[in-house]
Subunit: 195 residues, 2 copies
DNA sequence: GTCGAGATATAACACCGTTATAGGAGATGT
DNA sequence: ACATCTCCTATAACGGTGTTATATCTCGAC
């Protein structure tokens, strides 16, 4: 029953948006009563937290599935693709993950934040490999990964909001050039001049 | 009365978050009945749209107040500061502006999108000045401004979500280095090598 | 077979957005 | 001055929401 509720909740959230995710609607859809939500989760916000945590787990899986090549910079763009695909696969869930806008009084908690940091750790690893390979200037890998993430999340967020349409072909005019320019600024000068 | 409702709604949204912004609560707070919301705006979503539009107008004003110097790149960072300060001054309103998460069935409309594009136009102008001055590589100014905006919005969004804490001092380790590296990647090579 | 614990269903409370309806205030026309 | 007409307001109602208390049920342990 627990799983059934989670599945149905994620489906409702993904298909019809946050407003469709109500205790009663969910109970009806799952063929039970509203009490199930309280006995299994303790309330709607806690259930949403579980969905968010699951969203982060799926993000981790998706990034982990990106193959590791001998070109860390190329790997970074592959991670970016995986990240964006995750957001586009479940835009509503992504919005809840990062939208400070609350969904039914939901607020980020330590548990999900930890899962989110796990995903961030993967990115830090790729960045560190880039530094070890001499492709990125040596620096704090977490800081560099954070910069990459900020830019990537910014584009994805604007894309989901519809604001990316300030240009005709956002992916080829915004996303990839932005990451390329950022990586160029982050690149190891020696490697760049030697190329 | 119209203005009174808008002021009170913005106050409630800013002080207690989206969940506090209800028709009944707002009417009570403004000393009237719920009907006022419908006679003046036609419903809660339309009222939220007005608040969002006002938010964009305030953003435009804030950016317009940034002084124009003879260093367009420095101006860009000043615009970034103004942008970030706008978001931090009213985080909830910023979240509604860009959060694809709906607030009471609210959805972005053409009218507010136009006001948002006005703000974006200011940024395009600064970027174009940077190209004219030979500080930025010549390119489509809208695309470059969009890249800058994506990165900036990404950091601000993560900051409001609380995810910027992946590093100790996010502003000095994430925001400014990210923008600096992006600008370095965008800079005119001739100017850079000549420096 | 009985007992006890956990999950479920029902009903209630207060709140929500929205709408229909009735009343009031103020301007306008005669 | 009076009547009318329009705009705004207040009240009440409908269906929906999250949440809680209470009662029932089911099922495993002894």
């Amino acid at each position: 029953m627990r799983r059934r509720l989670l599945e149905e909740a994620a489906r409702l959230l993904g298909e019809e948006g946050p407003s469709a995710l109500s205790t009663r609607r969910l109970a009806r859809e799952a063929g039970t009563s509203t009490m199930a939500v309280y006995t299994h989760f303790g309330g709607m916000p806690a259930l949403v937290r579980e969905i968010v945590a699951e969203g982060f787990r799926r993000l981790v899986d998706r990034v982990a599935a990106v193959p590791v090549t001998d070109d860390p910079v190329r790997d970074l763009t592959a991670v970016a693709t995986a990240y964006r695909e995750h957001a586009r696969a479940d835009p509503q869930i992504y919005a809840v993950m990062f939208g400070s806008a609350s969904l039914g009084g939901y607020r980020l908690h330590d548990e999900e934040l930890d899962v989110g940091l796990a995903a961030f750790g993967q990115l830090v690893d790729v960045v560190r490999r880039g530094m070890d390979a001499g492709r990125l200037r040596r620096d704090d890998p977490a800081a560099v990964a954070g910069q990459f993430w900020s830019a990537l999340h910014g584009y994805v967020s604007l894309e989901l909001s519809g604001f990316h349409l300030v240009v005709e072909d956002p992916e080829s005019q915004l996303l990839w050039p932005m990451l390329a320019h950022l990586l160029e600024g982050l690149s190891d000068d020696a490697h760049r001049s030697g190329r």
